[in-house]
């Protein structure tokens, strides 16, 4: 999923760089404040390990193919989301500079697509709620934690990888690089990454379970749980988990159910009430078919896309790209600050209680 420089317009690259930079800045500030700089060698060694671990092939039983490791989730569960994000940036930088995997200008976009979702979205919206929740508690204490780890890492890897793949499509389309319609491009990218995410999630969960068996204190949240630092949030977190699950399943189903090959595009632009048709200057007749699937997909879109009402530029117009890039920069940066602030907020409250 590493993007090359050629796939991005300078404005989009600048926007993603800004977003990544802000997130990294906030993360560093947070680590400094918590005096977590002692983590530095651990971060470096773990990052190097994940880097090397990505070279290992894991045979998928029953098939001839093999899978790899999902870095972001593993790092944020071991180090925490902020430290995980910084470690992922470093991994991606080394890959870019020394292995020419991804471009120098596209580094911001790559960090955003692969590190931000995996570390922050994956941790705060999926890993933490699931680990804290009372799911599977019928199975007994140990088995329940194990089941939760599997669920959290498979769900986390799949969702964050899908978000990343969706961002690749979004960034490429905004840059006006490809002639491929948005929906068709999505249909090309998302199913592939669904499969990859599933395997990566399984590999990640296998490693995390091993760590849990040997040294549960190394895993974020699991150790807090064992110390009894939890309890009240279980209902709320269960609801969040269910919502994320519903979004994923709903999104998948609505894509399948739609006979229109441009299902996502149709869902994204075909809603007159939200004013998307105007933004696009598209013919409402050709897109605005109402159906349950379209509505479901619309909801998913609103949930998953960072910038739902982005004006997609005419592929020819450079001005359009610049304007939307700048708007995007502002929104993405705001989102980055928001997510980081949210994480800090929750953590502070936990410590006080």
């Amino acid at each position: 999923m590493h993007m090359a420089d050629a796939l991005l317009a300078p404005a989009v690259a600048a926007a993603t760089f800004a977003a990544t930079g802000v997130t990294a800045g906030v993360s560093i500030h947070k680590l400094r404040k918590d005096d977590d700089t002692a983590k530095l060698p651990t971060m470096a060694v773990t990052a190097a390990l994940v880097f090397a671990g990505q070279m290992i092939n894991y045979t998928i039983p029953g098939t001839g193919s093999s899978g790899h490791l999902c870095g972001g989730m593993l790092l944020s569960t071991l180090l925490g989301p902020q430290a995980g994000f910084l470690s992922m940036i470093v991994i991606l930088t080394i890959q870019c500079l020394l292995f020419a995997d991804g471009g120098l200008m596209a580094l911001g976009a790559n960090c955003w697509n692969m590190a931000f979702y995996g570390c922050f979205v994956g941790y705060y919206l999926i890993w933490r709620p699931i680990i804290r929740s009372g799911l599977f508690s019928k199975l007994g204490e140990k088995a329940a934690v194990r089941a939760r780890i599997i669920l959290a890492s498979v769900l986390g890897c799949t969702v964050t990888l899908e978000l990343g793949a969706f961002s690749v499509v979004l960034e490429t389309t905004l840059s006006g690089i490809t002639e491929l319609p948005f929906g068709a491009f999505c249909a090309l990218m998302l199913p592939i990454h669904l499969a990859i995410g599933l395997v990566e999630g399984l590999v990640t969960s296998a490693i995390l379970i091993f760590v849990f068996e040997a040294r549960p204190e190394l895993l974020q949240e699991v150790s807090a749980r064992e110390k009894g630092l939890r309890g009240r949030q279980s209902l709320k977190s269960t609801i969040i988990v269910l919502a994320v699950l519903a979004a994923v399943i709903g999104g998948g189903l609505s894509l399948l159910a739609s006979s229109n090959p441009d299902g996502l595009e149709w869902a994204l632009f075909g809603n007159k009430d939200a004013g998307y048709a105007e933004n696009m200057a598209l013919d409402e007749e050709s897109y605005g078919v109402q159906s349950g699937a379209a509505d479901a997909a619309q909801t998913i879109q609103d949930k998953t896309s960072v910038l739902p009402d982005y004006a997609f530029p005419d592929s020819e117009s450079a001005a359009g790209t610049t304007v939307s890039g700048l708007v995007g920069a502002a929104v993405v940066a705001a989102a980055a600050v928001g997510v980081c602030a949210l994480g800090g907020f929750f953590r502070k409250r936990k410590q006080r209680s």
Binding site: A4, D5, A6, L7, L8, A9, P10, A13, A24, I28, T37, A38, L40, P41, T42, A44, V45, T46, A47, A48, L49, F51, A52, G53, Q54, M55, I56, N57, Y58, T59, P61, S66, L78, S87, V90, I94, L97, L98, F99, A100, D101, G102, G103, L104, M105, V168, T172, G176, I177, T178, E179, F185, A206, I207, I209, F210, V211, R215, L218, A318
Partner: protein, 267 residues
């Protein structure tokens, strides 16, 4: 990156290239960083149909390859990671964009073909530029340059430390996979029964190692920041290099040099 041994060899190769001697290697890392970033920006900002004007941009990597003595083959070898996604994106352009642009003999060249070619050229050029930066600048020097442009020291220190450990970890992983392969002949990868324990074992060992590493760093007076040896300051030569490169990029970007030259030759 299929296997750790190859990655480790590649890393060593980059290290060797970066520590050789040439006029380009001796330039100040900050100058090279500025030039590389401007080159990438200039290249990417070309319009999708400006294939001829874009072709002028090949001069910079060509000149640098020549001056630094870095073999072009190593660079071509690295294209394999980046090109697939670029290809996947660009391959549909000829099918979807069929506006005829010009005729070449009896063949009509459509906009899609031109935009696909220019996309691939951009990908290759930008890759060559960042490869040249990494191949002519040791990572310590690059990190010092990053500190100069105010990249937070936490991130730069992390980058340096991780870089040091990447080769250690790659070696460990390659030893482990070799051992595993020898005991499980004819098997393509790690069996599902060992998915967790294979990397998990190494992970636990490494976490302990990191702890003792940190303790020994503290004992030697580590305060959270690395001290970089004060390298030489950027001199006149470096600024001349920056000036020449930037004006050449601007010239290529705003004047269609290949077309001008072509116009002189063809009437």
């Amino acid at each position: 990156m299929a296997n750790a041994e190859r990655a480790s060899a590649e890393l060593r190769q980059m290290d060797d290239l970066a520590s050789s001697v040439s006029p380009i290697h001796s330039l100040h890392p900050l100058a090279k960083l500025i030039v590389t970033i401007s080159y990438v920006l200039a290249t990417v900002s070309f319009d999708r149909y400006e294939l001829t004007a874009l072709s002028g941009m090949i001069l910079y990597p060509a000149a640098l390859f020549a001056l630094s003595g870095i073999p072009v083959r190593t660079c071509l070898h690295k294209l394999r990671f980046v090109l697939p996604l670029v290809l996947a994106v660009g391959l549909f352009n000829p099918l979807l964009d069929r506006t005829p642009l010009f005729r070449l003999g009896t063949v009509t060249v459509t906009g899609g073909v031109v935009s696909m070619l220019s996309l691939m050229c951009k990908g290759a050029f930008c890759l060559a530029a960042s490869f040249l930066l990494a191949a002519t600048t040791p990572i310590d020097a690059l990190c010092a340059a990053l500190r100069r442009v105010r990249v937070p020291s936490f991130l730069v220190t992390l980058l340096l430390l991780t870089y040091r450990y990447v080769s250690v970890m790659l070696d460990e992983v390659s030893v482990m996979t070799t051992a595993y392969r020898l005991r499980a002949p004819g098997q393509k990868g790690i069996h599902i029964s060992a998915w967790g324990s294979f990397l998990g074992q190494l992970l636990l060992r490494s976490m302990d190692r990191a702890q003792s590493l940190y303790e020994s760093m503290l004992l030697r007076g580590f305060t959270g920041e690395f001290r970089y040896a004060e390298g030489r300051r950027a001199g006149l030569r470096d600024w001349i290099f920056v000036l020449i490169c930037l004006s050449a990029f601007a010239l290529c970007r705003f004047v269609d040099l290949p077309a001008l030259i072509g116009g002189l030759l063809v009437r």
